[in-house]
């Protein structure tokens, strides 16, 4: 239906109704030609953005961890402002000599390795065995505990088996450590009373528990 002239207002008295009805707004040239493409592009962009938003995730419990991390960082930052160094020093030119000392140690000829390994190993094994046999009531608490039941007494195990086990398990450095630990000078093997002979039974037990 054609629009009726409803102009009842007192402005535009000198203008015709058709002139007053004209749209005063304008758009850029070609706007309506481009509008469909722009709408399609906008839809496409928003869909993509929506997909990307959904593709992000965080590890489980991340935000709980984040709170903790931030608190830690704040404390550490404050602490580092006051104390950033550890205060330790080294002797002058230490790092120059360290390299040489390390290389010397690597290229040093092994000293009586076989002698120590066989002779001292078996001597210390024998002493350990005697000390443990005398004690009788001590329990085997080291790695071998998994292999033996708690109630089985060490004295029931054949000596040969124990000697073999220890000979295979004890390393050279353990033997050296053992001899130092028990305060025995093993430099004079011919006159030494024997490694471990001055050892206290508790020391032997500790050695078995923590070192083997």
């Amino acid at each position: 239906m054609k629009e009726q002239n409803t102009n009842k207002f007192p402005f535009g008295k000198n203008k015709s109704n058709d002139e007053l009805r004209r749209n005063p707004f304008i758009v850029p040239n070609g706007y309506f030609d481009n509008l469909p493409n722009q709408i399609r592009s906008e839809i496409s962009l928003r869909e993509k953005h929506s997909v990307e938003q959904n593709s992000f995730s965080v590890p489980d419990g991340y935000f709980d961890q984040l709170t903790q991390d931030i608190k830690t960082q704040i404390t550490v930052k404050d602490l580092k402002e006051k104390i950033s160094e550890d205060g330790f020093t080294v002797p002058k030119n230490y790092f120059d000599t360290l390299r040489n000392h390390t290389l010397d140690k690597i290229h040093a000829k092994p000293k009586k390795t076989i002698y120590l390994k066989k002779w001292v190993s078996y001597a210390s094994v024998a002493c350990l065995l005697i000390a443990m046999s005398v004690g009788g009531g001590y329990f085997w608490k080291s790695q071998s505990e998994q292999e033996f039941s708690n109630t089985e007494s060490l004295s029931k195990i054949p000596d040969d088996e124990i000697i073999n086990y220890l000979a295979q398990s004890v390393e050279e450095e353990d033997v050296l450590y053992l001899s130092q630990y028990f305060g025995v000078d093993h430099s004079d093997h011919d006159h030494s009373p024997g490694i471990g002979c001055h050892a206290r039974e508790e020391d032997l037990e500790d050695y078995i528990n923590y070192s083997l």
């Binding site: 550490v76 602490l79 550890d86 330790f88 790092f95 630990y181 923590y210």
Partner: protein, 181 residues
């Protein structure tokens, strides 16, 4: 020298020494400070560091390149520190289950190679009240600024557990500073 080049040169007998020198030049100070902060005493650290690199020399050929050389070295160093500390505890008749490291506090104050000020000494004392693992994590993060991923590879612990451990360590140190003069 790149780590991969060090490893390949070490595999060839005629360039082995050159490669090892490069490795020492690159890592000896880092490893020393890592060890020193754990064992506290310089002479002990010196012994442990030399032992570490002797082990590295003997085992580098067997090193599997699916892990980083850097994390492998730190793993050896950390294990050597723990072994050393256990032996020291043993010598001092301290239970190996005793997690506190306060038995090293005396070493700290009597050491000739510690010239930290009052605050630095206090921080070291606070660190020594931590259990060994927390002490390791704290030192590696606070002083060495090692990434959690690398720490995880070195210590064989998850990143989440390491962060929790560091958080606890920091809280304890904060408390130590609040309650101690």
């Amino acid at each position: 020298m790149q780590d991969s080049l060090i490893i390949s040169k070490f595999a060839a007998p005629d360039t082995r020494e050159e490669a090892f020198n490069a490795l020492l030049a690159k890592y000896q100070q880092k490893i020393y400070w890592h060890v020193r902060r754990m064992v506290i005493n310089h002479d002990d650290a010196d012994d442990v560091v030399q032992d570490i690199f002797v082990k590295v020399w003997r085992n580098l050929e067997k090193f599997r390149e699916d892990s980083q050389l850097y994390t492998w070295l730190y793993r050896i160093a950390t294990n050597e520190c723990i072994t050393f500390l256990n032996k020291k505890k043993n010598r001092l008749s301290i239970s190996i289950d005793d997690e506190d490291s306060s038995f090293l506090a005396e070493t700290l104050t009597s050491s000739s190679y510690f010239d930290g000020d009052k605050a630095e000494l206090k921080l070291q004392k606070a660190i020594l009240t931590l259990p060994e693992k927390q002490r390791l994590v704290f030192n590696m993060r606070y002083f060495e600024e090692i990434k959690y991923d690398d720490m995880s590879a070195i210590l064989g612990t998850s990143v989440g557990a390491l962060k929790a451990s560091y958080h606890l360590a920091v809280k304890k140190i904060e408390k130590f500073f609040e309650t101690t003069d």
